[in-house]
């Protein structure tokens, strides 16, 4: 996503237009990333916040099969199948090598699913591993160097397209992509969506928890041939779905009042074109028990739009699209709300964030197939252009240029700001989705989305704050935030702590030992 964003920043600065085929190909590559990331996030990170793996060992395979068949016609649903999964799980639990299943809060009272739903979810956790191995083949088909995408170029794409060449993206590639996307979509519609709909009724109290700041921002992305983004651009204030405000990126500012950076004026925010990143750690020396939250307390800056904190990510995109009258998003959102028997107000919550990610995957999995058709039609019409070289001569660049590259990464609004002077990068700043969501308080003392979302979270056991993890994970934090660090004896040295002294719950990182 950063590769695409940086290329777009330069294209914006130099006024470079990309060919139509490059636009479609970028949509396809980004779209498959959504589908892949969202499924992996749900099954391999977030599901374990809701699914008690150990409870699955109590499940009756026949009852699990009945449950699975009642929610979907997905073929892997026999009694024998679930009995096999259960036996496999038992073997692993007994072996003591739990891998990612270790260090969890199994048996916590906040787990509400019956054993059969837990076993079904474990089976789908395993199936999702196979599914993602299959989906990842799309990158190889698109001719990019695995596993790191290197196919983005300023001006277009590096992968040639030619229906008659074996070494280019050709008709056969597109047929195979379509086949692959069909399988991806089937899993999303027959496994992921039914699972979310089956699990949600047990956790409807989470539709009233984890609301956050109530402001939602989307930069918009996935342009069509007229340049109109399929995921619309704009923002919503105060949970009000009746109005989508137009975005002016000049109104983005970052504050470091509470962040470990040096700045001339602690009270002033800087637009990213004028942004600075000068680290200066002033926090306590480890090992320490608490952060000094009334002073500087984080490496995160505090981005604000028009002085407001903004939540970004699938929920923000789906809300902006919904409020903007996006027909397909409205249909799927309304179908999900109707099935659960709830209104749109429940979307402003931890559960809403998790549901919105699934809804977005459903609409994206459909759309991907449409883009493959669009690319096929373009190639058939004789258009094979994939790259525009016109901007590659530095002698033709202006002495000074500024650009804003933006994407809607799976995690949310991603922006790169570039300032080019005398053919060189003069300043470069990235504001990433987790910075918006994990933002500390700003100069006015206003909290960012994570902090606001955790206010008032009920905690059954402060030593095992599973409820905190549910809300934080619902944002899909950048992985480094989800790391459990262990010392050589296997003791956890970084964990989530509950700060009850300040009268609210915050995700404090508590360090013991050497980090």
């Amino acid at each position: 996503m950063h590769a695409l964003c940086s290329v777009r920043a330069v294209e914006d600065a130099l006024g470079i237009q990309i060919p139509n085929n490059a636009r479609i190909l970028r949509n396809i590559i980004e779209g498959i990333q959504y589908v892949q990331d969202h499924v992996v996030h749900f099954y391999h990170l977030h599901a374990l916040d809701w699914v008690d793996v150990v409870s699955a060992l109590q499940a009756d395979p026949k009852a699990t099969s009945d449950l699975a068949q009642s929610i979907s016609d997905w073929p892997k649903s026999s009694t024998d199948y679930f009995a096999t999964v259960k036996a496999k799980l038992e073997a692993y639990v007994n072996s003591g090598q739990l891998g990612p299943f270790a260090n969890a809060y199994w048996g916590h009272p906040a787990y509400k699913l019956p054993p059969e739903a837990n076993l079904m979810a474990v089976a789908h956790y395993l199936e999702a591993l196979d599914w993602q191995r299959d989906v990842i083949r799309a990158h190889a088909l698109l001719g990019s160097k695995n596993p790191h995408l290197q196919t983005y170029l300023v001006g277009g794409m590096a992968s040639p397209i030619d229906p008659n060449s074996q070494s280019a993206i050709n008709a056969d590639t597109l047929a195979r992509l379509k086949d692959l996307f069909g399988r991806a979509r089937e899993f999303v519609e027959k496994v992921y969506l039914p699972d979310v709909l089956a699990v949600a009724p047990f956790y409807l109290d989470w539709a009233g928890i984890g609301g956050g700041v109530g402001n939602f921002l989307s930069y918009g992305d996935f342009a069509d041939s007229n340049g109109t983004p399929w995921i619309p651009q704009g923002y919503i204030l105060g949970k009000d779905l009746s109005k989508v405000y137009p975005l002016d990126q000049q109104q983005v500012k970052e504050y470091v009042t509470r962040s470990w950076y040096d700045t001339k004026d602690e009270k002033a925010g800087l637009h990213p074109w004028d942004g600075e990143t000068r680290p200066r750690y002033t926090g306590p020396k480890p090992p320490y028990e608490f952060l000094e939250t009334d002073q500087k307390y984080t490496w995160m800056k505090a981005p604000r739009l028009d002085e407001q904190p903004m939540e970004v990510g699938p929920l923000a995109r789906m809300l902006v699209a919904y409020a903007n009258g996006h027909q397909r998003v409205q249909e799927v959102v309304n179908a999900v709300l109707g099935t659960l028997g709830v209104g749109p107000e429940v979307l402003f919550s931890t559960l809403g964030r998790t549901a919105a990610r699934c809804i977005e995957t459903v609409v994206m999995a459909e759309k991907l197939i449409g883009w493959v058709d669009e690319l096929a039609a373009s190639m058939k019409g004789g258009d094979l252009k994939i790259h525009a070289w016109e901007g590659w001569d530095p002698s033709k660049w202006p002495a000074e240029a500024k650009g804003w590259g933006h994407t809607e990464a799976p995690r949310g609004a991603l922006g790169h700001w570039i300032h080019i002077k005398d053919q060189k990068i003069f300043n470069y700043q990235a504001v990433v989705p987790s910075t918006w969501n994990c933002s500390p308080r700003d100069a006015n003392g206003v909290s960012g989305p994570y902090e606001a979302a955790l206010l008032g979270t009920p905690i059954a056991d402060p030593a095992k704050p599973l409820e905190v993890l549910r809300t934080i994970h619902s944002f899909d934090p950048c992985m480094a935030c989800g790391v459990h660090l262990l010392d050589a004896q296997g003791r956890e040295i970084l964990n989530v702590a509950v700060d009850s002294a300040n009268g609210f719950v915050s995700p404090l990182l508590k360090f013991r030992g050497r980090v």
Binding site: G99, L126, L129, D130, R133, P147, M479, L486, I493
Partner: protein
């Protein structure tokens, strides 16, 4: 004989953290490998790497590993010691590699032989350069990997 995967992992932007990737770069510069050997820069990926384990019989992991040893110390491990050791490691990208190995076990994709070459880092700050004691080990690990392949009857051709 199944395929062999030489997987270097780490973050190139955090000095010695990128050791595994530096070794992969040196290997591909200096040697040509037969088709059944994949030499892969795994970067900071985790579960995404599961795809590359398909059909892999021998896995050689190269990484920076945190132990109590002196900076630049080399460490070699094999078999079940490897996942057990990695799950104790203190390094941000390491959430991924133990997960990948565990998922490989669950999906019956676990390689028959697993080997880890690790180096104790000195610098973990932002930077592209390896610290001198760690940089001095790159060629040594490259040599060890090539020798290991030879032991398995696989010839890497010096270029």
């Amino acid at each position: 004989m199944g395929t062999t995967l030489i997987l270097g992992v780490g973050n190139l932007l955090l000095s010695d953290e990128g050791f595994g990737v530096h070794v992969i770069q040196r290997l591909t510069q200096c040697y040509r490998f037969p088709e059944e050997v994949q030499v892969l820069d795994g970067g900071t990926l985790g579960l995404d790497l599961l795809y590359y384990l398909e059909g892999v019989e021998n896995l050689i992991l190269v990484d920076a590993v945190q132990s109590e040893a002196e900076a630049g110390s080399l460490l070699r491990m094999e078999g079940d010691e490897v996942p057990a050791f990695l799950s104790l490691k203190m390094s941000p990208h390491q959430i991924g590699v133990p997960d990948m190995l565990f998922a490989a076990k669950l999906k019956d994709l676990y390689p028959r032989r697993v080997l880890l070459w690790g180096v104790q880092p000195e610098w973990l700050d932002i930077g592209l350069e390896l610290s001198p004691p760690v940089a001095a080990r790159v060629d040594e690990v490259v040599g060890e990997v090539v020798r290991q392949l030879e032991e398995w009857g696989i010839e890497a051709e010096r270029q």
